[in-house]
Amino acid sequence: MKRCSGIMSDPKAFDRILTEIIRQDKGVKKVILVDKTGLTIANVSKLSYYPVDVDSIGAIASAVFCASEEQGKNLQIGELEIVPSEFAEGKIFASACGKGVLCVVSEAEVNIGLIRLVMKKQGVQLADELDKFLAVEPLSPKESELDEEDLKSALAELERV
């Protein structure tokens, strides 16, 4: 059994940070925050009719990022920061943000330097928010402890069987 810890996550914090990222460059079309298992936590789009399967894009970005991370571990070349994927008509960037992966989908003509900078800067804030969001701790032993009477009745039950 798990319960939330004392630090509460602001439900709108993710949207606020992702919106901040999407506003930085006119070429940014979509920003998605996923956890390392590929589940979408939050996303924002510049155009509401931009037709993409957010969950699938996020899951693949997370998988690609984690695969590259593994390569880095095997080669012992330190922590992975950003994975850029350049296509003929667009770019996808995936960066680490604590327990999650931040994914930015953009047009081909985009200020790569600025996107890198923003992803690194906002990634720190997102990591903090994710920590709060995912902060769960098990019940303390005192609360989960069975009292003596419960144990006795359980033993009696066993003996009867």
Partner: protein
């Protein structure tokens, strides 16, 4: 395309000028190509100045004022001189201290 040798010569001439505290050359994608500043400052300068140049290019085009040749930012610390070359896809940034 400018040769690396020629570029380095121009940069060392600029660095030798009095009051110059940094010279950065970046491409139009905001990725630095050459710099004498620390990596973090270089990355910041390249990204932010490229974004500014992009907006300035848009403004000049929308206002039908020909082509952008130079930008100067006067600050309390000094000056930021920006020379974009759209044809080469390069931006030269010179950071200067107050005299």
């Amino acid at each position: 395309m400018i040769s690396q040798e020629k570029l380095q010569k121009i940069l060392s001439n600029l660095k030798a000028q009095e009051g110059v505290r940094g010279v950065v050359v970046t491409n139009m994608d905001g990725l630095p190509l050459s710099s004498d500043l620390d990596p973090e400052t270089t990355e910041n300068v390249a990204a932010i100045i490229t974004s500014l140049v992009g907006k300035a290019l848009d403004a000049v085009r929308e206002l039908r004022e020909g082509s952008l040749s130079f930008l100067t930012l006067d600050t309390t610390k000094g000056q930021i001189n920006i020379a974009p070359d759209v044809n080469e896809g390069l931006i030269l940034v010179v950071l200067k201290n107050n005299e």
